[in-house]
């Protein structure tokens, strides 16, 4: 007797994570798909977004529980006063996560955005590692390796805990939808056209008087902020963050695979790729025998990336057809 409700429950939980990854992949698409920034340090922005939101919304540290960290924003209770019929703290948390990532991206980008793409890749790798080490070693910041737990549920009181996933799925899809619309608008705007021109041929874009560095920096900040939102959504889903949560596989490689599979340079592709790859990911659990070994996934992701690069670099949907190639 198939437990239909159980399957649907599982499916909803799966969709929540897929949707969160879709947000992160959208951010990567702004970096790589539209601007040609080779960012292999996604995990860094993922972590900053998650931690920012967590720190702002978690209760102040309790010394009795050996909690080392210094700051707990406790936003839900503090913002209780601002309840406009509905809790607003979540929105603030998301915005804060986006802003924190944006500021960090600005600082890093200031130093590094001029670098050639492959140098930028190694640099983003180092930055992500540095961020991880800081969170791990500075216990006062976010409780080090113990991590932050009991991150509050958004609108938890609204539904029965068993059905919360359905509510959160709606929230995630709403956020994803808004971001999708915003990014698509931005890409089709004059600003977006400059970005694509830069990706096609940086020297020509430079020659036509565009401040290439400024545009790249803007794209870097925008993409990072989106990744921050994804991180925050993630934090409020799992409700526990620690440095281990953001290992390279789950926080960087899988997102690259998602963008490659779906079609880089294509917002719809980014979202499609996320659901496909996450579907394969979750699906491998049910394969017989050794194929369900979680380590198989690492191998799978690697082979997937090599395969896409070798045979179909455009991904499933390929690049989005643009309306104009001119640089305005």
């Amino acid at each position: 007797m198939i437990d239909l409700l159980g399957i649907v429950d599982y499916g909803v939980g799966w969709a929540v994570v897929a949707g969160i990854y879709a947000v992160l992949t959208l951010g990567l698409n702004v970096h790589w798909g539209f601007t040609g920034l080779f960012n292999i340090g996604i995990a860094g922005f993922f972590a900053i977004g998650a931690y920012t939101s967590a720190l702002l919304t978690t209760s102040p540290p309790n010394p009795v529980l050996f909690e080392d960290f210094v700051f707990g924003g406790d936003l839900p209770s503090r913002l209780g006063v601002l309840n406009l019929g509905i809790d607003t703290w979540f929105l603030f948390a998301l915005l804060a996560a986006a802003t924190a990532c944006g500021i960090i991206a600005l600082a890093i980008g200031f130093l590094t955005i001029r670098l050639k793409e492959d140098y930028l890749a190694i640099t983003t790798l180092g930055i992500a590692e540095t961020i991880r080490l800081v969170f791990l070693n500075e216990g006062w910041l976010a409780n080090g390796s113990r991590g932050l737990y009991n991150i509050p549920k958004y609108l938890g009181g609204l539904v029965h805990p068993a059905h919360y996933n359905y509510l959160y799925l709606i929230i995630v899809l709403l956020v994803l939808g808004c971001l999708y619309i915003a990014v698509t608008r931005a890409i089709n705007s004059p600003w977006g056209r400059v970005l694509r021109a830069i990706r096609e041929d940086e020297m020509t874009a430079q020659a036509s008087g565009k401040n290439v560095v400024l545009f790249k920096l803007q794209a870097f900040v925008v993409g990072a902020s989106i990744m921050g939102v994804g991180g925050a959504l993630y934090a409020h889903n799992i409700r526990f963050v620690s440095p281990i949560t953001f290992d390279p596989l789950m926080a960087t490689f899988v997102i690259w695979a998602m963008l490659m599979v779906g079609g880089s340079g294509n917002n719809k592709g980014a979202i499609l790729g996320s659901f496909i790859v996450w579907g394969i990911w979750a699906g491998t659990q049910f394969l017989p025998g050794f194929l369900s070994d979680p380590n198989i996934r690492l191998l799978m992701i690697g082979v997937l990336i090599v395969g896409v690069m070798s045979f179909k670099p455009g991904g499933i949907l390929g690049e989005e057809r643009r309306f104009s190639n001119r640089v305005t």
């Binding site: 492959d118 490659m260 380590n295 992701i301």
Partner: protein, 326 residues
């Protein structure tokens, strides 16, 4: 000329500071040992960068897989043959490691050649950009690590070893006994590489191809053969580095090579891309700096020191010490 002079000055300053105990000499010595491991990886990486013209992100995982291959050879075939000795001379490991090492090097070189024929050559012929090649190597890196984790799991492993006392040298320097082995192997391999590059036809052809691949082709040099040799040497060097790293740290982890990428790229860029002598020097600088810094900074932040050097070079002098302007 100025940069070479400043490097010399820096080395002298370091020596003075160490002698007067401002810096602990032990850290410098350990840094040099670590530097020699980084050097082996970095020299291979820079040769690949110079001839294949892309950042080989899978280089670290080549180190990892070689280290694990040695573990396999020691634990299975050699063990079944009854060759289980450990504690060779003053070292912690036994002669089985020395037997296993060449196998790992050969397999790594072979794997690299297969990957070139199967993956990178196709992308090359298509005229793929350096980023696309780098991204493919990212996929390879992930797949290699997946293979390691599937086969050996994620727990810490070790080569069979016999604990030995640290050597006590003058000026309060204590070094692990294996350090001499590591430094010795690194030295022999480096000299061999130098001889290969300067005295053999294929070595000179490698340098020529790195200088100017189009000219190499019209001179009649078989550049595809040069590329295969570059892979053999690059992967071989990485394999030795991986095994030495596992010996030095007395542990193997699937992520060990990936974690090594930042020091490797720092050394390569510091020395000037494509220049193995620069990579050697860069590796020593990165190794010593990271160790010496622990006198004042939490040792967990050693990777950040290497990264800081990388950023500094990219911002101040992107071509590195010996590099030619792009």
């Amino acid at each position: 000329m100025i940069t070479r002079l400043s490097v010399l000055v820096a080395v002298l300053a370091l020596a003075v500071l160490a002698m007067t105990s401002v810096i602990k000499l032990e850290l410098v010595v350990n840094g040099l040992v670590m530097g020699s491991i980084i050097a082996l990886g970095a020299m291979g990486l820079t040769l690949l960068y110079g001839n294949l013209k892309f950042a080989h992100i899978a280089h670290g995982d080549f180190m990892t897989i070689a280290a694990y291959l040695v573990l396999f050879v020691i634990s299975v075939p050699l063990s079944n043959l009854g060759l289980t000795a450990i504690g060779l001379g003053p070292f912690t490991f036994g002669y089985p490691l020395l037997i296993a090492l060449p196998f790992a090097v050969l397999i790594a070189a072979f794997a690299a050649v297969l990957l070139d024929i199967g993956v990178y050559r196709r992308l090359r012929n298509r005229g793929s950009s350096t980023v696309v090649m780098a991204m493919a190597s990212l996929g390879v890196a992930i797949a290699l690590r997946g293979l390691v984790q599937i086969t050996w799991g994620g727990d810490i492993q070790q080569y069979p070893r016999l604990s030995k006392l640290f050597f006590k040298l003058p000026m309060d320097v204590r070094i692990p006994p294996d350090a001499l082995f590591i430094a010795g192997v690194a030295l022999v391999v480096t000299i061999s590489l130098h001889l290969l590059l300067t005295k053999t036809k294929i070595g000179k052809a490698m340098r020529a191809t790195a200088d100017n691949v189009d000219l190499a082709r019209v001179t009649g040099i078989n550049t595809e053969l040069v590329i295969l040799w570059t892979w053999v040497i690059g992967a071989g060097l990485a394999a030795v580095a991986g095994v030495l790293l596992a010996v030095f740290q007395a542990q193997l982890l699937p992520i060990m090579g990936w974690k090594f990428l930042i020091p490797l790229f720092s050394a390569v860029i510091l020395g000037g891309i494509g220049n193995p002598y620069g990579a050697f020097l860069g590796a020593m600088i990165v190794g010593v700096s990271a160790e010496v810094a622990t006198q004042w900074i939490n040792p967990s932040y050693k990777p950040v020191i290497a990264f800081a050097i990388l950023i500094a070079v990219l911002l101040i002098r992107p071509r590195g010490i010996f590099g030619v302007r792009d």
